[in-house]
């Protein structure tokens, strides 16, 4: 899919999901394609996250333009109102990792080595070996090995959203929210 739209819908979250997935199935779109990214946005406030948890408030959906058009035309009938609609050029998220575990570092590297099509990684990483950190210590512990990395994943919305969900499942990695590079609908 070439064109991605970000649609912010005001209304019951479950109703939005049902509408979008139902529309997708009815129009031959893979129902896994529309991405519901509530709580994953960079600017999400605590209130927004809480509302997303209880299914109230508004939903942010990444989907093809036909879904946006359908929501704008027919959503009001079921209490769903589109409050924001934009064309998405790209999506990105920042991340950082720090671990004293070689095994965890290898997993992190392997995950970012398999980015998928249309996704780029701007990355800085480093390994530090501290000879003073060998052996067991009590409170004066420093680690012999430390892997530090940080970066930004940029690219097509579907690939970036999927990547963010994989990265969020990794130990020792802190993931930032999704940031959209959007263009107003002409």
């Amino acid at each position: 899919m070439n064109e991605w739209h970000m649609i912010v819908v005001d209304g019951n979250r479950n109703a939005t999901h049902a509408f979008v997935i139902g529309f997708a199935v009815g129009h031959g779109i893979d129902p896994a394609v529309p991405a519901f990214v509530d709580g994953e946005l960079e600017a999400a406030t605590v209130g927004e996250r809480l509302r997303a948890l209880v299914g109230k408030g508004h939903s942010t959906v990444l989907a093809p333009g036909t879904v946006a058009t359908a929501l704008e035309s027919h959503g009001a009938a079921v209490g769903l109102h589109v409050t924001h609609h934009a064309l998405i050029e790209s999506v990105s998220f920042g991340w950082r990792a720090e671990t004293p575990s070689r095994e965890a570092a290898a997993k992190i590297r392997a995950t970012f080595a398999d980015l998928g099509p249309g996704v780029l990684l701007v990355e800085v990483d480093e390994e530090e070996i501290d000879p003073a950190g060998q052996g067991v210590e009590l409170r004066a512990q420093v680690h012999e090995y430390t892997f530090r990395a940080s970066g930004r994943v940029v690219g097509a919305p579907d690939g970036v959203v999927a990547m963010r969900r994989r990265v969020a499942g990794l130990d020792f990695v802190t993931v930032e929210g999704l940031r959209f590079d959007e263009r107003p609908i002409a």
Partner: protein, 455 residues
């Protein structure tokens, strides 16, 4: 200044003379968290600085009696304490549990139960070092591991050490100050209740998380299994000799001799000599492979030796003021902490954030100052045990159990966290540990323990 006149000193010292003691405890608590690299390289200087801030004016002001106090604390407390810690750590570090284990809830709980028993024999630090690696190996394939390490810290690194003076440094200090070796067994009901309850909570949580693991993790593996076994098992025999030696020094204290002007029992000197021999035997007879597998090094012993040198010097004014009760500058504390349940929570709350060994000594002295002000410890402690044992039980249980409340409450907590992180377990942050585990699991348990046993 003859022994016993510490009482007089306690009435003379101002409250601010305890500031270096507060300073060193706060440094030990906070600096490894806020500036770990600085602490790693400079903790000896920090410890020495706090010790000198107290010791220099103390000696200048009080002269000979001050020297005597410093020599007394070194000979009676510090040297035996460091020798015991070094011996237990070296013997414990010579035992390696090998074999393939599957990290199911039952196996994890069994490993922790073994660790709890071991903790009272080899000390919480030694037991943590011996048992954490088999536990991490067993759980290597699991996705949910953090909670297992946290409960290991609760049970093996802290609560399990409550039953003997070998189990946790505060209890050994109590032993050095005259608490009989077997008296700590009186904590069995508190310890059994707490350990069983916390272990049961762990099992409930782990069973739930076990069901969420991938099917291949839960299924029994067809891969070849290494049978369970112990390397360096002869160290268990040496540990038995440690137990007998410590008990013997309590049963047969022997005649008194003067060491640097301080009265010391021959039995204690013999005990310390035997410990050093056992340490040397363990070191020379245990294979290097076992030590390497446990990542044994002298660093923890060096660390204890340096930090406790500072602690034992700076604790002198605090103990002296507390022991004279309301006649000293710390009368306010003595007046506020009155009942056993107060002692349980006060010693426990402070042990949650400061090292639990000096905290135990401070509250033992507070109890003595409240109940037997001005009476020498050698008389006051037997009377405390005979007349008000619940005070000592409350201080012991509070200091030992609540060291688990934070990463900084007890030295092995940090060690276990570090070993687990290096093995790829993402451990909770300092506040995450408190909010997600200590408050809901431990503090609620301690509310029940305090109500059941100390009110």
């Amino acid at each position: 200044m003859p022994e016993g006149t510490l009482t007089d000193l306690g009435t003379l010292l101002p409250v601010w003379s305890a500031l270096p003691f507060a300073g060193i405890l706060l440094s030990i608590a906070v600096m490894p968290l806020l500036m770990p690299t600085f602490w790693h390289h400079h903790f000896a200087k920090v410890s020495a600085a706090w010790a000198l801030v107290f010791a220099v004016p103390f000696v200048v002001e009080f002269g000979g009696p001050a020297w005597h106090e410093l020599a007394h604390v070194a000979i009676v407390d510090y040297v035996p304490f460091v020798i015991l810690i070094a011996t237990l750590f070296t013997l414990g570090g010579g035992i390696f549990v090998r074999g393939t284990l599957r990290g199911s809830p039952g196996v994890n709980a069994a490993l922790m139960a073994v660790g709890i028993v071991l903790a009272s024999v080899v000390g919480t630090t030694g037991a943590s070092m011996v048992m954490i690696r088999p536990l991490l190996r067993a759980n290597r394939a699991r996705r949910h591991r953090e909670h297992t390490v946290v409960f290991f810290i609760f049970l093996v690194s802290n609560i399990g050490g409550a039953l003997t003076p070998l189990g946790d440094p505060p209890l050994f200090l109590g032993f050095l100050h005259g608490v009989p070796f077997f008296w700590t067994l009186a904590l069995l009901p508190e310890m059994l209740f707490t350990a069983t309850w916390v272990l049961a909570l762990y099992l409930m949580i782990d069973l739930r998380l076990w069901r969420r693991e991938d099917a291949q993790v839960r299924a029994a593996s067809d891969a070849p299994r290494q049978p369970l076994g112990l390397d360096g098992a002869h160290n268990l025999l040496l540990l038995a000799v440690v137990v007998v030696t410590v008990i013997a020094s309590g049963v047969w204290p022997g005649p008194e001799v003067m060491v640097l002007g301080v009265h010391q029992r021959v039995g204690n000197l013999v005990r310390d000599a035997v410990m050093l021999v056992l340490l040397a035997v363990s070191w020379s007879t245990t294979s290097t492979a076992v030590r390497e597998a446990n990542e044994y090094s002298w660093s923890p012993i060096r660390e204890v030796a340096i930090l406790f040198a500072g602690i034992f010097v700076t604790i002198i004014p605090a103990l002296a003021m507390l022991r004279v009760g309301e006649a000293g500058a710390m009368a306010g504390l003595v007046r506020v902490v009155r009942d056993p349940v107060h002692f349980f929570w006060a010693s426990g709350t402070l042990s949650s954030f400061l090292d639990n060994a000096p905290t135990y000594l401070a509250f033992l002295s507070t109890a003595l100052g409240r109940l037997y002000p001005g009476v020498h410890e050698s008389v006051a402690i037997p009377r405390l045990i005979a007349e008000h044992p619940s005070y000592l039980a409350a201080v012991s249980a509070g200091s030992v159990f609540m060291g688990a409340n934070t990463y900084i409450g007890n030295a092995p907590n940090f060690m276990v966290k570090s070993i687990a992180e290096e093995a790829g377990v993402s451990m909770p942050s300092f506040f995450g540990y408190i909010l997600r585990y200590s408050l809901p699991v431990l503090v609620t348990t301690f509310v029940v323990v305090g109500w059941l046993f100390f009110t």
